[in-house]
């Protein structure tokens, strides 16, 4: 049986047995090569569910918005985000069913656009490991690997590490989580500053990165607060940098590098870099990786006597 049939069958069973009130998955979007989150309450709607490399949303960001029991069709990153939400007590594990699925990686639309040099796609589909696009004066196919999202290229957990039920097969792949950072860290502070200033100079403060992030779960975000006003709401470079530093810092130990922020950014800013650096520091210093363990608290809400403190006088 194909993977998608198994997903539909499992979703149907969970709904019929009343183990969940809603299934969060994906259905076809209205634009070519797009999918959109689907919230399914009736078992006869499960036929609309899809799963392919266009399913790029991190569904964990919707899971804490429902009353009752929620079943989430979860890729590796979605499942890890769900685990961090459980650890942070944003979701009650009793009310959550993680339906794990193997994910070969999702496509980055910016890369597709770049590859097609602005030519408009009218129709597109995924055929095994190829993307097929059609449009006026356009008929092309290319391997998915060429337009794979950056976070998927270095992904370590394509199959969820923690799940309630697993559909399909386990994918095993050597991840290289901090590959992107190596070269960057060798630059001098001035070069790094210039890079970030150029990068964040483009930010229009639309907060798409915050909205899409499952680790940004505060009900009252610091950037919406005016008393005290921690930093301006302008697109002044200093204010923008402050926003992005705080965004990254607040997700430290929670970010699973799903890459949703980067894909959501309308300006194509490399948002993963800051989070990645914190992820690395958390891994090296506290031996912690987000979303692998239901028991271990996030590193900033715990401590150990023997934590390293070589940087303190």
């Amino acid at each position: 049986m194909a993977l998608i049939d198994e997903i539909r069958q499992e979703a149907k069973r969970l709904l019929e047995e009343k183990r969940v009130d809603v299934i969060i998955g994906y259905r076809k979007g209205t634009l070519p090569l797009r999918s959109t989150p689907a919230f399914i309450r009736n078992s006869d709607e499960v036929e609309g569910l899809i799963f392919d490399p266009t399913c790029s949303n991190n569904l964990a960001s919707f899971a804490n918005r429902f009353e009752g029991k929620v079943g989430v069709i979860a890729k590796g990153c979605d499942a890890r985000s769900l685990i961090t939400l459980v650890v942070d007590r944003q979701i009650d594990k009793e009310n959550l069913v993680i339906i794990g699925i193997p994910c070969p990686g999702v496509i980055d639309h910016r890369k597709v656009r770049h590859r097609l040099r602005g030519r408009e796609v009218v129709d597109g589909l995924i055929l095994e490991d190829k993307v097929v696009v059609k449009g006026r004066d356009l008929k092309e196919d290319f391997p998915i690997s060429e337009v794979l999202s950056g976070s998927c290229q270095v992904c370590q957990y394509q199959t969820p590490p923690v799940y309630d039920l697993l559909i399909g097969y386990q994918i095993k792949k050597e991840g290289r989580p901090f590959e992107d950072l190596k070269e960057f860290k060798e630059k001098c502070p001035g070069e790094r500053r210039n890079f970030f200033e150029e990068e964040f100079f483009r930010c229009i403060r639309c907060y798409a990165c915050r909205q899409v992030c499952p680790a940004c779960f505060c009900e009252y975000c610091i950037v919406d607060r005016t008393k005290p006003l921690w930093f301006g709401k302008t697109t002044d470079l200093s204010d923008t940098l402050m926003f992005h530093l705080i965004r990254a810092y607040h997700t430290a130990g929670r970010c699973v590098d799903c890459g949703a922020c980067h894909r959501a950014c309308p300006m194509g800013i490399d948002l993963r870099l800051l989070n990645k650096r914190l992820e690395e520091e958390v891994a090296e210093r506290f031996g912690f990786q987000a979303g692998l363990d239901l028991e271990r608290p996030v590193p900033l809400s715990a401590y150990k006597d023997e934590d390293t403190q070589e940087f303190i006088m």
Binding site: F195, I222, W230, L274
Partner: protein
Amino acid sequence: MDSSHEIKDWQPKILAFLCNWCSYAGADLAGVSRTQYPPNIRVIRIPCSGRVDPMFILKALQQGFDGVLVSGCHPGDCHYISGNYYARRKFALIKALLEFIGVEEGRIQFSWVSAGEGEKFAEVVKKITTDIKELGPAKCLVKNRINPSGGL
């Protein structure tokens, strides 16, 4: 004021967050013992080093301070049992993040100074002042530069 004059006379402004129970008392001891240290720090007394939200550090840099010092009780001595242990984790991450975006190493520093360590407090202030004098005025994150010739 021409810029060469400005650079020659430039004195860094450093914001120091001192915990009420140890470092603030340490600073006080340095004072009553008449231990000399550079007058470049502006002190804010806080109940515990755990009170220091990393936002305070970012805000200080944004508002034009050239350096930030956070000082609290030694591990095991926290008045609130574990505030400084949480603080230690927060500082490790904010330091890593700031250095990653290009804030020079040494611009933000952390220390443990107990109420009996007036000498150590003076040493800490000497060190951070020397370090920041070498680094020059802060460039990263700055929005409102503090007037170099006057007060705050």
